[in-house]
Subunit: 308 residues, 2 copies
Amino acid sequence: MSVMKESRDAVAVVGAGVIGRSWAFVFSRAGCRTRLYDPDRTQRERAIHWLKTAGAGEGRISAHDEIAEALEGVSYVQESGPENLAAKKAIFAGLDRLAPEDAILASSTSTLDMSAIAEGLPGARRAIVAHPVNPPHVIPVVEVLPGKMTDPEVVARARGFLSAVGQSPVLMNFYVPGFLLNRMQAALVREAIHLVESGVADVGAVDAVIRDGLGLRWAILGPFGVANTNADGGIREYYGRYGGSYAELMNDLGPTPSFDRAQIERLGRRTDAMTNGSRSEILEWRDRLIRKIRDLKQEDPMPRGGSS
Amino acid sequence: MSVMKESRDAVAVVGAGVIGRSWAFVFSRAGCRTRLYDPDRTQRERAIHWLKTAGAGEGRISAHDEIAEALEGVSYVQESGPENLAAKKAIFAGLDRLAPEDAILASSTSTLDMSAIAEGLPGARRAIVAHPVNPPHVIPVVEVLPGKMTDPEVVARARGFLSAVGQSPVLMNFYVPGFLLNRMQAALVREAIHLVESGVADVGAVDAVIRDGLGLRWAILGPFGVANTNADGGIREYYGRYGGSYAELMNDLGPTPSFDRAQIERLGRRTDAMTNGSRSEILEWRDRLIRKIRDLKQEDPMPRGGSS
């Protein structure tokens, strides 16, 4: 992984839950001095224990009782606190007051608009959303999303920093609920549940279609890249020929499921029947395979024609 | 790849286009004597040339001028002819007349219902849909879909045979337009196009979210497997906690795009800006990586707890 100068800067991780500790792994792995803060001491200690067990860059990680201490001299702050607006506003007020003037203040929020979090904040220009995919030390995508007051220079600097520490930042131009990832996931999940609930196929069949079919392509090319390789003439020929059939299918897709207790229990029982490894074993296995897939892609990147 | 006895049987591939030739690769690789038929001599010759270049089990593949000759003594027929009902009906009438009485007659159709193709066919009980993902010699999923008259024993035998030749057959209980794969693909693509067309993000950002985010998970676990690993308490806890937010997002998803000429051209230009390798290089690269991902999964399969 190529690590640029900036990644050796000091970074603060504020909130040491599952997401925060994984961020600490990312930053320390890239060579950053990483300062961990959480108001809950037990949470901090658990995170440090997890980081040690996971073999994260120990010498570069420190835990702090005082947020002011954690923020000293940092150039980037990644906040992963509770997912509600009042809490985020309070945390950002503190970060803005205490962090060095040119430090970027990034939030891991998956649902909130930075325009709302940073409303009335003196340093709103340096506040930005950097929403990871869980867990960020395994999955590289980060959705980067400025608020209305965020300085374009801060957007560029945040993207550069996240690339430098080995993540794959993607830029959103403005806020929509669910951002990109959760919207596309919701679209697919809605139809997956519809296919099971309407009796077309069982949970195992639907999952196999993804993991032995669509997912194999999508680990390598996104939906536009796939469309562009599905016909000799590329995406224009593909959608020119099949756009009509696609539109018919799209209009035939199932409705939003109820997610009531009975439905969740049905899905639960069907999912139990499919898997019988322990959850922690399956998580370890998943993360191990994802790392290997990332290695494959890094060793053999997409051919870039003339652009060397 | 474990190859059972049945896979050494003789198989006929009827229709030698891009899908048919890839099926011939699958069957010959698994050790089947593979007989190729296409009414178009040029098509046949192209397929044989492609199979030789690709290093497919040459000694086991033969091309035939006469369909009756191709069908002699086979236990399984994979039809990959033109995608319209009249053509499929005519082909299946011929297959049913000429193939050995106990041979399975499978169609690669991606859109048609076997109940319609086999209507009035004396051998309707042995006719079934086996829809591959292109190209089947790289991507293992096959959607297996009986018609109303298909014998359950034929369904079981078709699934067993497809597993034996190294594919991953998934069973659908009844026909729905688009089957499983294209419906879920359409659901995701609809939202992907909506996000680009509404200006939220560009084609490159949407594709990166899939290939460096969701696709990495989905190459390993389907949507239910992912939901089951997203909370300590599994899918019940996950949807119990987030079902309401999911439902809100699902109700906020974008509409079916127009796929009119102007829209396709806009998507085409945006996709051009993202990729500049040649299409054939990118296809080779994609297939190479997918094979390696399949190898990873075969070497390190999902932990199965007590079930050894």
